[in-house]
Symmetry: C2
Subunit: 250 residues, 2 copies
């Protein structure tokens, strides 16, 4: 069984019809998850929901009670389908309107003749939201309690994560070690299960791969404890040697 790092966990809510319709491949989960790993925060759930106020309100109010940190992506731009800020305000029963600091940032960012209604809309936020600095394109993200609202455009989102490092109180960093083998899962299943039973506090995953014409299995060991990973790795190495299975770098 896999044991969750319950202490510091997070969920992502992806707000976007374009992901649900299959038009756009999400890549933000990988970016946020890798960043959270570094901070010692375990991503435990992702939800992808449509750009609909009811869905957003319901999902935010469900998820924010279950996880320490919640990150939303998408829906904070200037168009009619960008309704995250308004929906978050409603989820928290906060008023929604021009946010002084966000307005000033955008006012400085754009020339006066270009600071149109759409751009002004990006300064409309839940009352008393804290801002997340956007080094790429001006319009800030924002924080209400444990909910962190980020844009959907991957490059802009990535540029904003670093600025949040000091706002996230992570736990121990989640470490991992991968062993890739030229074998099939069924050949190692019972041995691997024995190791998992012995190392209950380590998460052992088994993932088949097909790459460069080769079929194999990657075993991933995850834990916050370096020593546990090392011991677990030795146990896996033992049965691999006995079974004469070859390792491969992928």
């Amino acid at each position: 069984m896999k044991k969750a790092n319950k202490k510091v966990n997070a969920a992502i809510i992806i707000i976007g019809n374009e992901i649900l319709s299959g038009r756009t491949q999400d890549v933000n989960v990988v970016s946020i998850s890798n960043w959270l790993n570094e901070l010692g925060v375990k991503l435990e759930e992702v939800r992808v929901i449509p750009d609909m106020e009811n869905s957003i309100i319901r999902t935010i109010n469900d998820v924010r009670k279950k996880f320490m940190y919640v990150f939303t992506t998408g829906g904070i731009g200037p168009t009619h389908d960008d309704i995250t800020s308004r929906s978050v305000a409603k989820a928290f029963n906060l008023s929604y309107g021009y946010h002084k600091q966000a307005y000033e940032i955008l006012e400085k960012y754009y020339r006066p003749e270009n600071f149109n209604e759409g751009r002004k809309k990006m300064a409309m936020l839940p009352d008393k939201a804290l801002l997340i600095f956007n080094p790429s394109s001006g319009a800030p993200g924002f924080i209400v309690e444990n909910v962190y609202c980020l844009p959907g455009v991957p490059s802009i989102l990535k540029s904003m994560l670093g600025g949040l490092n000091n706002k996230i109180k992570g736990g121990k960093k989640i470490l991992s070690k991968t062993i890739s083998l030229i074998t099939v899962e069924s050949e190692i299943a019972s041995s691997l299960e024995k190791v998992q039973k012995e190392f209950k506090d380590v998460e052992i995953g088994s993932y088949p791969f097909f790459r460069q014409g080769k079929i194999g299995v990657s075993i991933v060991i995850r834990s916050t404890e370096e020593a546990l990973i090392s011991d677990c790795y030795k146990n896996i190495e033992n049965f691999i040697k006995k079974k004469k299975i070859n390792q491969i770098e992928i």
Copy 2:
């Protein structure tokens, strides 16, 4: 506001620590969603959850009541972390054990000396599950009521979708039209909002892009009605011409 095609909808549950950890980029949502679009089924939610029995049971029992079709991906292989079949059985209060038909399929697929415990485990399913044929690698998927359980390996999953076509009763096919413009969202936001208000039964999405050194916006119009898309498109074309915004093929 966007109107959902409430009649025939679906959700996906991605079961996989490797997606949550950021190690693996999910690509199955795009495959399933595009296939559902063709069948006239609207994907309305995705959840990514860990390989933990409690999470799987809770999520399946929550989601299967809300959506007409539920697809799970991952966790039906031979290793200790493959617990989807057992968890689905528990979610539906069904017994879990060797499934005669699945056992026979796997028995034929492998040579007797290779039909080991791990491979036999893939024949352990909820009682009375219907099988989903796997043309790639033998081990079948399965169906319990409105829950369709598929593997996580993208190529195998894709090869199994076609065989489900006659099991899914879709609605009208969801059509879409995309217009890509050399502009920024804030330039078109208010005009686009007016069109959306006029065409309430059409879903209009606005998505910025940065490609080949060009900044632009793709407007996506979605509806089951060709005529509505066409009328909506003309309205958008009108304001584009007035604003002298150029279209681009991307």
